[in-house]
Structures are given as C-alpha cells and as structure tokens.
C-alpha cells in the first residue's frame, strides 16, 4: 500500500477537499455559535424552558447522522436544497446545538451567585453583568462546548459526502465504491489530522480568551 504515493499523485485534490471540509465545518460551527450561545444564555433565566430546550437538543444529537440527512432531504427539497452543502451545513448546525447550548447554560449557571449579587448591588445593569462577569467567567466552558462541536462536526461532515456536500468524505466514499484502499485510508488520515489540529487549535483559543485571574484560580484549585 502506498499512501504517500497517493498523496503525491493527488495533492491538489487533497488540498481542495480539505479546504472544502474545513469550510463546511467552520461555517456550521460559526452559525451554531450564533444560535446556540444566545439560546444557552437565555434559558438560564427560565428553568422550565431550559429543560425543554436541552432535551430537544439531546434528541437531535442522538439521531444518527445518516437518518437526519434522510429526514431533511424531502423537507429541503421543497426549497430546492435537497442535496449538497446546504443540508450538510444545516445538519451540522443542528448537531452542534447540544454541546454549545448545554455548555453555555451550565457555565452561566455556575457563576457564583455572590458575584451576581455584588454586580447588581454595585449598580451594574444586567447586560453589563453578562458582558463583564458572566460571559468572561463562562468562556472557558463555552469554548470547550465549541471544541466538542467542531471535532464532532469534522467526523459528521465526512458522512455528508453521501449527500453531495463534498469534503474529505468524498475520498472515503469513492474509495469504497472503487475498492481503492489508499484513497479510503488517505481520506481517513486527513479527517483524523484535521480533527486533531482543530482540537489543539480550540484548546489554544480557550487559553487565549480566558482571563489570567481565572487561570490562576484554576491552577490554585488543582
């Protein structure tokens, strides 16, 4: 088996598919963040809604990805988006909701009540408390949620090749069809590498955006 040879012969296509893969995942995590973080914050203000939202996100995530693609197909087909990148991105956004909403919700809920009380008592508006206290304290856990979502999405995006989304899943899908082992393994290696890199990148991001005071606190506790 000559994996290196495969990459040498197909490096342009590899780069293209990798780029496509990254792009799908990045866009979906970005959109999922725009939706999930505000929802996660909003439900900290309402216990009943919180239970419902988190349960729904749970159901979404336990649905197998192939089944979700299948379910979405007829619905999106009505708008002419049955196949391709659009249903893939939508599915990834939906899958990301659980880790993002759940982590945001838990992180904001875990802000010590005396900090909220102090902020309130000193005359901070609820927006200001959110911006200056709750979010900065919650950010490490929120980013951990994004990290889970991104790594998971890299895997699921590979399956989305079956609905014509492109990305590194194409190697795996075509490799299987053509019984071309180097292609299957080449695709799998690239997907794994991508997952490892993104995981490391998100860990770095988490460190960069966490306040020094909170890092010190953590270091002291452990």
């Amino acid at each position: 088996m000559d994996i290196i040879g495969f990459f040498q012969n197909n490096y342009e296509r590899t780069l293209l598919l990798t780029w496509e893969h990254v792009w799908i995942v990045a866009l979906s995590v970005f959109l999922a963040t725009l939706i999930g973080v505000p929802i996660g914050i909003a439900i900290t203000r309402n216990q009943k809604a919180a239970a419902k939202v988190i349960n729904s996100a749970n159901v979404l995530m336990t649905t197998p990805s192939i089944a979700l693609f299948g379910l979405m197909l007829p619905i999106l087909a009505v708008f002419g988006f049955g196949l391709g990148k659009v249903p893939a991105v939508i599915a990834l956004v939906l899958y990301s909701q659980l880790p993002i909403i759940r982590n945001t919700y838990i992180a904001i809920k875990n802000v010590p009540p005396e900090l909220i009380d102090a902020g309130k008592g000193l005359g901070m508006s609820s927006w200001r408390r959110l911006r200056e206290i709750e979010i900065p304290l919650a950010i490490p856990v929120i980013i951990a949620g994004l990290r889970t979502a991104a790594v998971m999405n890299i895997g699921i995006a590979a399956i989305a090749a079956y609905i014509g989304a492109g990305g590194l899943g194409v190697f795996i899908q075509q490799g299987i069809a053509r019984v071309y082992d180097e292609m299957i393994i080449g695709g799998a290696i690239m997907v794994s590498l991508l997952a490892i890199l993104v995981d490391a990148g998100m860990a770095l991001l988490e460190r960069l955006v966490t306040s020094k005071g909170i890092k010190l606190e953590k270091a002291l506790k452990s």
Partner: protein, 377 residues
Amino acid sequence: MIQYEKVTKIFGTGEDTVTAVDNVTLDIDKGKLVTFLGPSGCGKTTLLRMTNRLLNISSGKIIINGKNVMEMDPVKLRQSIGYAIQQIGLFPNKTIYENIATVPRLLKWDEKRTSERADELLDMLRLEPSSFRDRYPVELSGGQQQRVGVARCLAADPEILLMDEPFGAIDPINREVIQNEFLRIQGKLKKTIAFVTHDIHEAIKMGDRIAIFQGGKLVQYDTPEIILTQPRNQYIADFVGADRALKVLGIIRCREVMEKSPPNVVQGSMNTKEVLKMMEEHNWKHAVVLLKSRPIGYVTPKALKYEDTEVREIARPYPVTVEEGSVLRDVMSHMLMYDMRVICVTDEEERFTGLVSLNHIQKHLIDIYAEDMRENV
C-alpha cells in the same frame, strides 16, 4: 440619612408566606454607623437589601435623603450607594484595580481620576498600590480580599454604605484588625452606614447605635451602652450575654472616667527636697513626674527621703501608660498585668492629661448600673 417607615417584607404567596421584616421603623442619621443585630434569620439581610432595592418592599417606605427609593431608578440608586457582602464577591476575572474601578466606570469617570482614586483607597486600606493594583483576587489572602471589597464599595465616594457582615469571612485576629481600620476610616469619612452582623461584639464595637431584631421585628434601638446596661427585655438580655457588665468595659473610654489634671504632679526639674515637702504637706502617696509635659515616672515620699537632686533623676518609670481613647477593658487589663492601681493617661502626642484608677472605673460603673440594679432588686 436613611429612614425606614413601617417597612414590611413578606416572601411567598398564599399559605406559604414568611414575614421576614415586620413593620420596622427606624432612622439612621447622617454620618452614623448603625449595626443591625440579631440571630440568623431575623431579617437583617432582607431589610438591608430592600434599601438599595435588591428586594422589593411589601409595604412601608424607605426614604434616603428625602427621596423614596421606590421612586428612584434602581440601577442609579445602587450606583450611588456602597455595597459590601460577607462573601466579598470580588470579580475573579478582573484585577484588583478593575474591581475597585467598577462603580467609577459605571459612572463614566475618566481613567485618570479612577486610577488616582483606586490608589488612594488602596493606601487607605494599607495595601501597597504598586504591588496590589495589577494582581488578581485569587492571589490575595482572605483579609486582603475583604479590604479590597471595602475599597470597592467606597470607590465612588458614596454617602451611604450598606454592609452585610462585611468582615464575617475572616479569622478573628484579622477581623479585629480590619474592624479597627474601618473605624479609623469611618472616623474621617463619616459615612451613613447600615451594617449587618450577628456578632454582639462587632455590633457593640462598630455601632454608634444598635438595632436589635427578633423574628423580623425591631425590638430595641439604642446606643451600645444603653443596650448593655438597660436591655429592654429578657430576649435582649440573653442575646447580649450574662457578661454584659464586662462588655460595657469594652465601649467606655478612659476619658469618660479619668481624673483630669490631678494635683499630685511635679516637674522633673524640681528638687527632691522641695517635692518631698509638697508631698508631705498635701499628704500625697505618690506624684507624677513630668518632663516637657510627658509623664516620665513617679516618686513616693519614701524614695525621696535621703535624696538631694533633680526629681527626674530618681523617678521610677511607669511600665505602661494609656491613651484617653483606650477602652476600660484595656486599661483594666494593664492594671492587672502590671499590678498597678493608678495609670497615667496621655493624649495622642503622649502628653500627660490625667490619671485613671480602679476606683474611678468602679464608681462610673456603679453610676451606670444604678438604674438597672434598682429595677432588679
């Protein structure tokens, strides 16, 4: 000035209601520190939190400097009032400076003014600005954090402070230190303060007046001295403790009982023979020897008998002197420790101002308790 008028707070609805504060009326005069005292659950925190509208008032009114708090914007109201709590609540993601700057920034002070103010406060609370400004709360000890909590609540120089067991989270030794420092600061700043505590010692020490609560009701509102000597009922008597006569010693200051400018005082430059003659004439058992207004020691007739020199040469130094502001508890402690019946009292510059003896203290206490004792006979 804060006025509470028939303030009531009821939690819950239907059958599950708790009356946490029950028809409380009291005034906190401008510049005074009033302690809210009582056992856990008696409504102290609830009353405090209604003052800056962290809780709504069920009925009655709270008026601050003539304005009903319910008619003020809650956020603006809170920005104008200092707030400190037992859990301190420093923001762990912000530096000490940023924590102190919280309210000035809400009030849009410029950065230079905020910065100068923060340094001033850190100095005032004996935290070296250059070494503390840029540290994070987690790097400070509990006592230091509590000081920053106090600095933060003083930052925008509010006229009114609400403090809920602000020194409750630190060990007794450090608590004593920060209490003393806070009293020193309050002596200068003269803020109007509502101060919650469940510690009778703290209430006595800090309060110009004490409000004692029981089950949400205000049961007595008086000066510490009156609370200790004339508790209104058995509940209060029990709460202040069987040793309340001793606790009184912790609040009465030397200047209230001492003998000011006593006659048996001589200058260090006088001749011993002259002094001996004076002492025999007036039948003094001892005389205080002063040098530049400072008491350097004392002499007795016996010690002077065979001497012929300046009296300062043979004066026996006092092992200890006390300041006018010392409380009687400390004075008596010195008397017992050094086996002295009389101690010299000085002002802050160590100049002699009088004498205090066990007799003076006893006489003063008997006067205070005279009324109390008559009732109990």
